[in-house]
Amino acid sequence: MSKSVRTLVYALAVGAVTLLVYYVAAVVRGPKVEYVNWSPIVAAVLTIMGLAAGAAWGVGGELSQWKTRDAVLVANLALVFGLLFLGWGMVWDLIKPLNAILPGIRDLSYGFWFLAALVAPYIIRKPGAAVVAETLAALAEWLAGSQWGFTLLISGLIQGGMAEIVFAAYGYRRYKLDTLMLAGAAAGIGSLVVDYFFWYSNLKPGVLAIMLVARLISGAILGGWLAKVIADGLVHSGALGSFPVAREGREQV
């Protein structure tokens, strides 16, 4: 089984099992089960979390194939991004008043938090880079004392897993702007799903819809496009000379 197929199969399998378990718990056992009610939003949320977690599980085996160089690079990048993410949390709090104009519009700034899941795979081009980088960045942000606490680790894993699905769908071969933007948008879906699970389950559906659109846009632009700008800037600086991303540039020339 090729690596990309393996990631996708794991994602679909875990997503389907999650949906099935929720369906059985909420519908088949009947309305007498007091605490579990069927809701399409919850079904979608759980399925997407399953998809992303499955993708993360699927690439887990790949990690032993990595070179030391890749592991150290991703860990260092993730740490730097984790600290930038912590700083972005302050921006996020400062622009809170934007939500008075249109609730959820602040989420247009959310894409910045997906950068680790996009820059790392773009540079090293290995299965698992998105999941590992985003999870480690979340770990760094958590340990540095973020306001969102432990939930960050789950956010990181799900956002990275969603981005990973996109990179896998492109066969881990194509790393262009469209791949990065799609991966950013996918991470945006993943982020909202986790936030719904932990924080937003009592909000109006309209507000959630605005948030979803804002995060898709932000994931594509502030995530995908900015990731390419940053990574290309790094290639230009010459620091990435021995990594796949720079080799590609040389072949084109």
Binding site: R69, L73, A75, L79, G145, W148, G149, W199, N202, L234
Partner: protein
């Protein structure tokens, strides 16, 4: 740097296995998410801080200093969740007032309070872990008990070790820019450009350092074998399991007590 840091001390909590501690927090966070009333997270928050103080021997002053900025940050979250509460989901909403497009209802305020206390309970869990866990023990335990591939475990340790270097590096980049007369203009556009000017050299230097360290590691045959031995081996002792089980029993007891008192509203449903 961040608001939380390791508090060096010798205590029951400090001696616990980091992976078991992480597992306990994960389970607590997942269970707390199911509670929709403010009493469950509130009680849990108090108990976590009490445990950190008594069993972790972290002074109340340190706990308070770490937590108060985050308490302030929770306030806008409370307001947002109250104003945009889905009033249609409550059976008989007790509406307090109409504020333009917003309906302020008692149910919304209760839900906002519950979510804010949930944030604070999660933050308390983080402080609980971070204040009582030596970062290098954590990385070692992730490898030995968490089955993280050791190459990654050591990569995390390297990154952690490099952390203080980034502050120096940033200062050097800033000085290099100033010497050339770049930057200094204000406004958010200037800030954005400044961010770009700092981010790329900082990341480039992170990449160069990583590569150099990786070469040094490779040349000492790091990662040549599938397994390795350790100078320090962390163990999972009976006290770790006792901690995990008692944490879960405590959580169940909180749920049970509050339900008997009629203060919870069931998992996943709205507070009455």
């Amino acid at each position: 740097m961040g608001l939380f840091s390791y508090y060096e001390q010798d205590s029951f909590l400090h001696r616990l296995n980091p992976t078991i501690k992480l597992l306990a927090i994960f389970l607590a966070v997942m269970v707390l998410t199911l509670a929709q009333d403010p009493y469950t997270p509130g009680t849990f928050l108090a108990l976590v801080l009490l445990t950190l103080w008594l069993a972790g021997r972290v002074p109340l002053k340190v706990i308070g200093r770490s937590l108060w900025p985050l308490v302030v940050l929770t306030l806008p979250f409370f307001v947002f969740n109250t104003l945009y509460f889905d009033v249609g989901r409550a059976a008989n909403p007790h509406i307090w007032l109409h504020l333009g497009p917003w309906i302020v209802a008692r149910e919304g305020a209760v839900s906002g309070l519950a979510l804010s206390l949930r944030i604070l309970a999660f933050i308390a869990c983080s402080l609980f872990f971070i204040a009582t866990t030596d970062p290098s023990d954590f990385a070692l335990s992730l490898i030995q008990q968490g089955h993280v591939p050791y190459r990654f475990g050591y990569a995390i340790l390297v990154a952690y070790r490099f952390l203080p270097l980034w502050t120096e590096e940033l200062a050097a980049i800033r000085a290099a820019h100033r010497v050339r007369g770049v930057g200094g203009n204000g406004g958010w556009r200037g800030k954005l450009r400044q961010f770009q000017r700092y981010a790329i050299p900082l990341l480039a230097s992170a990449i160069r350092k990583s590569e150099r360290v990786a070469i040094a590691m490779d040349s000492k045959a790091f990662g040549a074998m599938p397994d390795r031995t350790y100078y320090r081996e962390l163990q999972v002792r009976w006290s770790d399991w006792a901690f995990l089980i008692s944490a879960l029993v405590l959580l169940a007891a909180i749920f049970y007590l509050l339900t008997v008192l009629g203060l919870t509203s069931g998992f996943g449903s709205l507070p009455a």
